[in-house]
């Protein structure tokens, strides 16, 4: 990683101390199975919530796949994240049916309520907003999914009040309220 772009590239990653041994079981299972890079990355993300730089380097060392190739795969697929997300990941559906039924107005309401744009995390780390292509619940459009729960037939006001409830619950859980 000493080529000219290395410094720039590093900016894309979050390099935190993580327990790399958590990946050993997965690596033992898959490192000798050709074509398993995506599966390994999916498991790594499940463990850490995102893909830390050190984890990618560890995967490279263990599997022999070059870091550049791993970076290529990690940035190609929308599922993979190079940065941590907040406690609640908002997946706002921007599929065709949702678009026709006003997903843009829901997005505006979320942006207004939380002050973050697509891909960003709130300062208090409670929410991350991610626009997604389609959640497949088209007849309930517009929809968003938070922590695996789908909220359908949204209006801007309904979306805002759902976010407030979740924020309240999150802060309570943290013991801040």
């Amino acid at each position: 990683m000493d080529c000219c772009g290395a410094k720039e590239l590093k900016k894309h990653f979050r390099d935190e101390e993580v327990d790399l041994r958590l990946m050993d079981e997965i690596l033992d299972k898959y490192k000798n199975v050709p074509g398993s890079l995506i599966t390994i990355l999916q498991h790594a993300q499940e463990i850490y919530g995102y893909l830390p730089l050190s984890a990618l380097e560890y995967i490279s060392r263990e599997t022999g796949i070059h870091t550049s190739q791993i970076y290529g795969v990690a940035t190609f697929y929308t599922q993979f994240r190079l940065n941590p997300v907040g406690d609640n990941l908002i997946m706002l559906c921007k599929g065709t049916a949702c678009h026709v039924n006003g997903a843009d107005r829901i997005e505006e309401a979320i942006v207004e309520e939380l002050g973050i744009k697509n891909g960003e995390t709130t300062e208090d780390n409670v929410f991350t907003l991610n626009n997604v292509a389609c959640l497949g619940c088209c007849s309930l459009s517009p929809v968003m999914m938070i922590n695996g729960i789908t909220y359908g037939s949204l209006t801007p006001d309904k979306a805002k009040s759902i976010l407030r409830e979740i924020k309240e619950a999150t802060l309570q859980k943290r013991g801040e309220k």
């Binding site: 050709p34 890079l37 065709t96 007849s139 359908g152």
Partner: protein, 580 residues
């Protein structure tokens, strides 16, 4: 008495899980009923749906059941005291009867997590027949007679693909199921996988036997966790029963299936990109030929079919290719599942014979346009497709007719639009999607879609220039010609088809700086009409304080302050806010 709750993804989103949990709790405390689940029956607009089967064999379907109503409903039903308000309307039942269900015949009927129920409905009979009575060629011949064509979009004859993989000498061979349903606005495959997973497995095993493969892979979107879970359960059950694994049904045929979760890339629906992704790489398409049938997964003969294609196979083997071919048109045989969404009253999943006119699907099955607005167009085939305008509502749904009018069959997304949908904005929406999803391999696709998007963006923002339409048309040809795979070759379709049928809307945006659908924000403004009674509701609801006026006097909107959020239009009870 048996109570069955529909637990598909949309049912759960509508609150079906809460209904189920409520019942479960009561059953645990002694409520005397048999509680069960099923997949999506396709009437998403009526979810949560609860079916009650009485001991005398009678059956009632209840719709839009809330969790605080269910116990009362069940208790009353036990005494044959039916809450009529909650029963499905005869109109909705009629809509169901107009359909012909083959691929989704079991969806919403059986418990997808129990193999016994699939077997009881004739499941795995087709596999047994294939393995014990039919040769590989006979199976392929039966599929040929049925006229089955790929349900993923392109409509390539299934028998031809199977035969091409079968004649290859090299081994091992692979049978791949494409369940990477990435088309926004389509969820047919998800419903089949969630509602009847064994059917897809059976279709794959039969196909695997026909081409001489021993390994099957299902490539599913990671966004479909419930589908993955039910497939895992189904695979384990099929293995236990001896329909999958070594020496299937004692015939010496070995076949295994594993699941590979995709990681979110629309382009992976293209078969060579899907193969690259299966191999753990960036999902970028490869040059054809060689075709996957010759050199696919790890360079070995590979056949890839869509979920719905596989779901038709067991039915065809059980009932014969001729029975399947008796539905549909001369060149498009059988049925097709559509996800009917958008501005439609009764959105959901419908399966109809090929050749049905679009208007029958929209009005007779879909119940017409939401809020009784005017039908404008229906978008078919998602980002690769085009729109069919209202004046062509007699066009029938089959591969040839749709292609002729500039749309495509696609995977089955059918998004209905009304007079308030701006067609230029729709084109922008799809281009924005394909621009993001372009893998970047071909310059024309990577940069061409970006340039086209920029032009569309400036048009909807009111900065369109004279000549932009022609420029879009020219770029469209170049993107189509210069792209390796289907994504780029079809990406300009939504633009071309909206220009073809709604050129006047493009011109209104560019020349008059007006959006005829009154949807593009930079081109509209709000005004209070003379019939305002001065109630003050709009003034109180305006988030930026742009509305002023005394009580009982006509109010005024300050255009400088107004952010065009539309709140006043929504809250006014007297239709006194005009969009101009």
């Amino acid at each position: 008495m048996k109570v069955v709750v529909g637990l598909g993804s949309c049912g759960i989103a509508a609150g079906a899980k809460k209904v189920y949990d409520e019942l479960k709790e009561q059953v645990d405390q002694g409520l005397d009923i048999k509680l069960d689940i099923t997949g999506c029956v396709g009437m998403c607009h009526l979810e949560p749906i609860v079916d009650i089967y009485y001991d005398d064999g009678q059956f009632d379907r209840f719709v839009k059941v809330k969790d605080d109503e269910i116990i009362d409903l069940v208790n009353k039903a036990k005494e044959k005291n039916i809450i009529e308000d909650k029963k499905i309307s005869s109109e909705d039942e009629e809509a169901l009867k107009k359909q012909v269900r083959i691929a989704i015949e079991n969806c919403g009927v059986i418990n997808p997590e129990r193999i016994e129920e699939y077997i009881a409905r004739g499941g795995y009979k087709a596999l047994e027949k294939c393995l014990t009575q039919l040769s590989q060629d006979e199976i392929i011949e039966e599929i040929k007679i049925s006229g089955l064509r790929g349900r993923g979009g392109a409509g390539f004859p299934t028998w031809f693909k199977w035969n091409a993989a079968k004649v290859e000498k090299e081994t091992p061979k692979y049978m791949v199921c494409n369940a990477d349903e990435g088309d926004p606005g389509a969820f047919m495959d998800r419903s089949v996988l969630e509602g009847d997973p064994h059917r897809v497995l059976e279709g794959m095993i039969i196909g695997g036997y026909a081409i001489g493969a021993q390994e099957g892979i299902i490539y599913v979107r990671a966004e479909y966790p419930l589908a993955i879970k039910r497939l895992e359960i189904a695979i384990a059950q099929a293995k236990e029963k001896g329909y999958l694994g070594k020496n299937i049904l004692g015939t010496g045929f070995n076949f295994d299936i594993r699941i590979k979760a995709g990681a979110g890339a629309f382009v992976c629906g293209e078969e060579t990109a899907l193969i690259a992704s299966l191999e753990g790489e960036r999902g970028m398409p490869r040059l054809k030929p060689p075709f996957p049938a010759q050199k696919g997964y790890w360079g070995k003969p590979t056949n890839i079919n869509n979920v719905e294609t596989f779901a038709n196979v067991p039915w065809i083997i059980r009932n014969g290719g001729k029975a399947f071919a008796s539905y549909g048109t001369e060149k498009s045989k059988g049925t097709k599942v559509f996800a009917l969404t958008g501005k439609i009253k009764k959105g959901g999943l419908v399966e109809v014979p090929m050749g049905m006119p679009i208007k029958e699907i929209i009005y007779d099955i879909g119940g017409g346009i939401l809020n009784n607005k005017k039908f404008k167009a229906v978008q078919m085939g998602g980002p690769s497709g085009g729109c069919v305008p209202a004046f062509l509502e007699d066009v029938t749904v089959d591969y040839e007719s749709l292609t002729k009018v500039g749309a495509i069959m696609g995977s089955g997304g059918m998004v209905v639009m009304d007079e308030t949908t701006c067609m230029v904005d729709m084109a922008r929406f799809f281009l924005d999607f394909t621009r993001k999803e372009s893998c970047g391999k071909c310059v024309q696709c990577r940069l061409g879609t970006k340039r086209m998007l920029e032009i569309l963006e400036r048009i909807v923002e009111g900065n369109g220039r004279e000549g932009d339409i022609e420029l879009l048309e020219r770029l469209a040809v170049e993107v189509k010609d210069g792209s390796l795979c289907g994504l780029g070759q079809t990406a300009p379709n939504p633009v071309l088809s909206t220009i073809r049928y709604f050129r006047d809307e493009y011109e209104a945006h560019i020349r008059d700086k007006k959006c005829p659908a009154k949807s593009c924000k930079p081109l509209i403004h709000y005004e209070v009409a003379d019939n305002c009674i001065g109630c003050g509701v709009c003034r109180r609801n305006c988030p930026v304080g742009a509305i002023s006026g005394k009580v009982k006097e006509v109010h005024v909107i300050d255009q400088e302050t107004c952010i065009k959020c539309g709140k006043c239009y929504e809250v006014c009870k007297f239709d006194a806010i005009n969009i101009l």
